[in-house]
């Protein structure tokens, strides 16, 4: 009985305590429950943010290595194309023509490659083992009237002291590169080929593309880019004298990632050259850049 009375007294005391400050106690208990859920949600939010970060890192994983491997492949392709020029026979290029479709419109620029007298068909009569680079060197072997000028032009002509002889080296290069670079052009790249003179003044100036019969003042550049091939366009006018490959990497040229391949071209003019240097060192440079 005393025990029951003690218990009941304790219960009454508790009730009195609770009734005295019921709200503060209750709200403290409720707060602890709400804090636990809030912690859980905060944890979930932080995990969600971390997962988003992981996804963004993983999607870019390997991109720089991929780009590096692409560059290696493009350079290797250029090397193979330029090496092929040393061996390619002229007669094999006589069926190369300008494309009718719109994928490579630059090949129809003056003169069209399937022009019977100025295009690739003219090489059908070249029997023997004359290669593309042999003819290009002939085109570059101009001996100017004024020995001090050293004016050399890529104009499909060999200009000597006795007159001019047809030497369509520039056209042979155009026909050869049109086919050799076809897979890259169809994949969205453009190319530009030129000859530069490292020991001229200014150093590494590009040998100009001169006019020839029926081709107008500028002649035809060796490129698949229509804007650069057109001498009258804004871009076309900006190319010389540093050359097309240097121009492409400028803000006006529009591509900062052009890859180029250079090979030496040594021309020997004989032992007696009448005041002009008998040996000339040039560089054949071919560059590519992505346009699509």
């Amino acid at each position: 009985m005393a025990l029951i009375e003690k218990k009941s007294a304790r219960v009454k005391a508790r009730v009195r305590t609770m009734n005295r400050t019921p709200n503060r106690t209750l709200s403290r208990e409720r707060s602890r429950a709400q804090a636990a859920i809030f912690d859980g949600i905060t944890f979930l939010l932080m995990v969600g943010f971390s997962c988003a970060l992981v996804y963004s890192v993983v999607t870019n994983y390997g991109e720089s290595m991929d780009n590096a491997l692409n560059s290696f492949y493009e350079l290797n392709y250029l090397q193979s194309a330029v090496k092929s020029l040393y061996y390619m026979n002229l007669q094999q290029l006589s069926n190369v023509a300008s494309d009718e479709d719109s994928l490579a419109p630059a090949y129809t620029v003056d003169p069209p490659l399937n022009d019977a007298t100025l295009g690739c068909e003219q090489f059908r009569s070249h029997t023997g083992s004359v290669t593309v680079l042999d003819l290009l060197k002939k085109d570059l072997s101009d001996i100017p009237d004024d020995p001090s000028s050293e004016e050399v032009v890529l104009d499909d002509l060999f200009s000597g002291r006795t007159g001019e002889v047809k030497a369509p080296g520039r056209q042979a290069l155009r026909c050869a590169l049109k086919e050799l670079m076809k897979p890259l052009v169809l994949a969205g790249y453009d190319y530009y080929a030129e000859v530069v003179c490292p020991r001229c003044n200014p150093s590494y100036k590009a040998i100009p593309f001169g006019g020839a019969d029926g081709m107008g003042g500028g002649g035809a550049r060796v490129t698949s880019n229509e804007a650069l091939a057109n001498f009258d366009s804004e871009k076309g006018k900006s190319v010389d004298p540093d050359g097309g490959c240097a121009f492409v990497q400028t803000p006006d040229g529009g591509s900062y990632r052009a890859l180029s391949m250079s090979v030496p071209l040594r021309i020997s003019l004989g032992t007696s050259c009448e005041g002009v240097s008998c040996q000339r060192d040039y560089i054949l440079r071919v560059c590519i850049w992505q346009t699509r």
Binding site: S8, G40, V54, V57, Y73, S80, S84, Q91, S129, P183
Partner: protein, 210 residues
């Protein structure tokens, strides 16, 4: 809220709760009170683990592809060393290629095609690179049955013997994971396979994981 002693006793009897939990609607207890917060924590942990495992798989896949590409490039350097290919030079290149492919733990198929122009038959065309319409046509770089006709596979090299007995002799690329194909222009004997002069050719190097 006022609670009578009788109510207090009833509640205590029913639930066995201590002083802390008494009289609070929805109140469960110290552990039970934290019970709802377990769900977002468990969800967060599962989400994190699945993201990490997915990212690891993606990175491993990418690594595998990059390894195959590196192997393809190194094999390409072997066959494009000189700018031309003849039947005699191909024999030594073939041996070196197969050895390098074994070392890189990949399968390789290298095919050479000739796109010659024959001046004796100018109307037959030729002298320009042509792309095949389908993957299993004889003009396809995957076709290994050799022929000296233009646009057909002239020479090939592979370290996968199963390809040699395939009928038709063509590698179906869709069944190969991480397949890499690299094309290069190359000078080949033209107009005939034993001519001293050279013309247009294409070298295709196809590599895939073992």
């Amino acid at each position: 809220m006022e609670i009578t002693p009788k109510q207090l006793k009833q509640m205590k009897g029913k639930t066995g709760l201590t002083r802390i939990g008494l009289g609070v609607r929805g109140f469960v207890g110290p552990l039970g009170d934290d019970f709802p917060s377990i769900f977002p924590i468990v969800a967060g942990v599962l989400l994190f683990i699945s993201t990490i495992s997915f990212a690891g798989g993606l990175a491993a896949d990418k690594n595998s592809y990059l390894e195959v590409r590196k192997a393809a490039l190194s094999l390409s350097y072997i066959v494009t060393e000189k700018g031309f290919v003849t039947a005699e030079t191909w024999v030594s290149k073939k041996a070196a290629l197969e050895k390098a492919a074994q070392a890189n733990n990949v399968f390789v198929l290298a095919t050479v095609k000739r796109f010659c122009f024959d001046p004796d038959f100018p109307r037959a065309g030729g002298g320009e690179i042509v792309f095949p319409e389908t993957q299993d046509s004889p003009e396809s770089p995957y076709y290994i049955e050799t022929s000296s006709e233009p646009k057909r596979t002239w020479l090939y090299a592979t370290n996968n013997d199963a390809l040699l007995s395939a009928n038709p002799p063509v590698l179906i690329s869709t069944t190969k994971r991480n397949l890499v194909m690299l094309n290069y222009p190359v000078a080949v004997p033209c107009p005939n396979a034993d001519s001293p002069t050279f013309g247009l050719g294409m070298l295709n190097v196809i590599v895939w994981r073992r």
